[in-house]
Every structure is written in C-alpha cells, then in structure tokens.
C-alpha cells in the first residue's frame, strides 16, 4: 500500500497511508468539536485538506484569488534573534521591500509592555523615523506578559508560590493587583506610540498567563478604544484556551476561564479590537493532518461569526505549524494553504 510523506506536530517526517491520513483529519476535527462545542469540518473541507496534505509538491500555495493579508508580529526582533545584525529600520525595510509584507511591526527586543515603559522615549523617535520611510501600515507591538508583575520580576507575590500552599485568596489578590499594574503600562505605552503616529497597536500572545492576563488586556483595550476611537487594535492570542489561573474573573458577565477562540472573539469585538488572531495549540505527538484539521475547525468557527478581520496566528507551534524552530517548508505551506483556502479568513 502506498504511503504519503508528511510531518508530526514536532516537525519530524512520518509516513502514513491514505486511510490513516483520513482518520487523522476526522479525529482532529472531532477533537476541536468536542472541546469547543463547534461545528466539524464538512466533507468537502476534509476532502480538500486530504488533497493538500497528500500533494507531491514540496511547497504549495493558496488558490489564485484567495491571497490574504500577511502581517508579522515582532518584526524588528526576528532578524536579531537569528544573529543578523540589522537595525530596526533596516528590518522594516527588509520586510517591506524584500519579503512582501502587507503590514509591519516595530518592537523592542524584550517584547513586553512592561520593559518598554522605561525606554518608550527611545522607541518613539526611531518609530517616528520608521514611519517616514515605510509605506505599509506600521504597528507597535508587545506582549501583555503578566508574569513580569510577580516576584522576583515584579512587585506582586507570586501566585505560583501561593497556590501550592493553598493560599488561593492571596493568589487571586495578587493577580488582581497585577492587572492594575499591567493595564497602566499597556495604556501608557500604546498611547505614546499611537501619538507618535502608529497605525495600530498589537497585543501579542494575549492570555499567556491565563484569565487575569486576558482581563487586563481587555481592560487596556477598552480604555484605549475610548481614548482613541480610530486606533486599530490587533489582539493575537497565546493559545486556544484561556487558562483559569484566577478562576473567578468575569468580563461583562462572561467568565474568562475556559473560553475558546470563538468566545474570545466576542469579547474582543465588544471592547474595540479591530483585528483578532486566534492561536490554536499544536499536539506534537499527533500528525500534521490531525493538527491542521483541528486548527482549521477552530478558526473556521471564528471566521463564520466574526464582524472584524480574523488573522490566524501561524508562527511555530500554533494553528497547524509544527512546534520546531526551523519549520519544514512543506509543512508550513500546507498549514498556510489549508487555513486560507478552507476557512477563508482575512489574514495570517
């Protein structure tokens, strides 16, 4: 029986029969259905995904006419992370003129709002300069990163120390204090960068620290949206499921712990987010078709109910892209094509 080469969720090559791939696609979509209480992929979508996975081409692309807006988070830090010595301005020009980026993003190497606060006066003039020499929409981006507000990195007692001791009340109080600090930092930095001329602000990897971080980000965005109604706010999520680290936080009557992407989207729209980025986790021990089917099912549920553009987060380890630093091109382009052609979302 002939076999098809594809990858596992960790990027390693693996071979499967046609029947095994079809089974994985079915099980992947059903896993999303079970968890998110959403609709499964239809027969045509599953057939299309099977065809994308089993194509002999090394790399694939979306059908002509289906091209989407491709945005890049943390744009000015990516080359430096690969030990390529280019300035922020040069990085943006490379994205704009050599890589065909549809939007650009300026960021500090320590990609979180808290460390940007003390250096924002150094960020602003370079950002202003970048705005003069680039053409696509230019965002300023960073992560809410609530972890930086607990000891030893921040002022609040560490819930990670309190929870194992059963000090649940104290841990919750700490999270509530962290929310206050982080909202101030996010609003401060975003305001300064918007007043410098930013087209938008990106809140990247939102809710990485759970429901308290999601609450803080929603609060900051609500404040910013009232202050600057024209500001484009992009919210990229950290994972498919908001962890209930606090457990009792509600936003506008909605409990944040346990929200899946299509429910996260509802709150995002309510507070004024203009572009929403769902992030779906990868299971490294499952195959690429299983992971892509699962991710596409979750994202399709968002796209169908969204009033705002949906840009799926498709970096390493999310939305079907294998969890490895050097992602195989065949896996990445298959995940990219499947996400666009099947969900018909607005961007990546």
């Amino acid at each position: 029986m002939s076999k098809y080469m594809t990858q596992m969720g960790d990027g390693y090559r693996a071979e499967f029969t046609a029947e095994e791939i079809k089974t994985d696609i079915e099980e992947g979509t059903q896993d999303a259905v079970r968890r998110g209480k959403i609709e499964p992929l239809g027969e045509e979508d599953k057939r299309r995904l099977f065809e994308i996975v089993t194509r002999p081409d090394r790399s694939v692309g979306v059908d002509r006419g289906n091209e989407v807006v491709v945005s890049y988070d943390s744009g000015t830090t990516k080359f430096n992370r690969c030990n390529v010595e280019v300035s922020k301005l040069q990085s943006l020009q490379i994205y704009e003129r050599l890589l065909g980026a549809d939007t650009l993003e300026f960021a500090h190497i320590d990609y979180s709002y808290k460390p940007v606060k003390p250096i924002v006066v150094f960020e602003q003039p370079r950002f202003e300069q970048a705005l003069l020499i680039t053409i696509p929409p230019l965002f300023y981006g960073a992560m809410p990163n609530l972890g930086l507000y607990s000891q030893p990195d921040g002022p609040c007692p560490n819930p990670g120390d309190l929870l194992p001791k059963g000090q649940i009340k104290e841990a919750r109080e700490s999270y509530e204090k962290q929310i206050e600090h982080s909202v101030k930092d996010m609003v401060y930095v975003a305001s300064r960068m918007y007043e410098a001329g930013a087209d938008g602000i990106n809140f990247d990897t939102t809710a990485a620290a759970g429901d308290a971080e999601f609450y803080a980000t929603l609060k900051a965005i609500e404040t910013l949206h009232k202050k600057y109604p024209q500001m484009c706010i992009q919210m990229g999520m950290a994972s498919e499921f908001v962890l209930g680290m606090h457990g009792e936080l509600y936003y506008d009557g909605v409990r944040l712990a346990g929200l899946y992407p299509h429910k996260q989207l509802e709150l995002a729209e309510k507070v004024g987010v203009r572009i929403f980025g769902p992030a779906i986790n990868i299971v490294t021990t499952q195959s690429l078709p299983w992971n892509v089917a699962r991710s596409v099912t979750f994202v399709k549920a968002c796209v169908e109910k969204a009033k705002i553009p949906i840009h799926a987060c498709m970096g390493m380890g999310v939305c079907g892209v294998p969890l490895t630093l050097s992602v195989p091109v065949d896996a990445l382009t298959r995940a990219s094509k499947a996400m666009v052609d099947i969900t018909r979302l607005d961007g990546l």
Binding site: V70, A101, L132, I133, I135, P136, P137, I275, V321
Partner: protein, 106 residues
C-alpha cells in the same frame, strides 16, 4: 517562516497591493473581500490584479503610491502615504501627525 507564508498565501505587500488591502482592514475593520473590492474599485483594476506584481507595479508607479524598486523621484515613504490616504479616502495617523508638525493639520 515570513518568506514561506508570504509566497504561499500573501498578497505581496508593496510588490502588489497588499499594503492597500491591509489599510482598509486597519482603518475600517473591513473583512478581506470587502477590502479587496474597495481597493480595486478605487484603483480602477480587477480584484485579481491586486496580487499581480506586474500590473500593480505599473499602477503604483502611475499613481505614485510607492513601489519596491528604487526609481528616482518616486514616492518612498510618507509621501506615498499622503497619496494613499487621499486615494482610499481614509485617515492615516502618521500622515495627520506629520501635517500637524509642519503646521498643515488641525
């Protein structure tokens, strides 16, 4: 990653009309198809032309909206954004900030 996603799925940025379609998402929160139709209508091209770098290079040069290649005298940054704001009938924050700085804005 950036290269692979761009080639597999992207409109092409300023090589084509990716930045212009993105502008409509950023400025007005338009969904993709609406944004493409809006930009195509303003440029007087078809939606299919928006991802075509040959057609769009000519359109961008004619309208001076900035293009990838270094052409003497053509817009390369904020000057292109002044024209994009006018063409697409949108507010661009940095254009307004710039106008204010030179005493043109409100």
């Amino acid at each position: 990653m950036a290269v692979a996603h761009g080639i597999a799925s992207g409109i092409g940025g300023i090589r084509a009309a990716g930045d212009l379609v993105a502008r409509m998402q950023v400025s007005r929160g338009m969904r993709l198809q609406d944004a493409k139709e809006y930009v195509a209508g303003k440029l007087g091209v078809s939606v299919a032309d928006l991802a075509d770098p040959v057609v769009m290079s000519e359109v961008r040069e004619d309208r001076d909206l900035g293009r990838v290649n270094a052409v003497p005298g053509l817009a390369k940054g904020i000057d292109a954004k002044f024209r994009i704001a006018e063409l697409l009938d949108i507010e661009i924050n940095c254009v307004n900030v710039f106008k204010k700085r030179i005493g043109m804005g409100k």
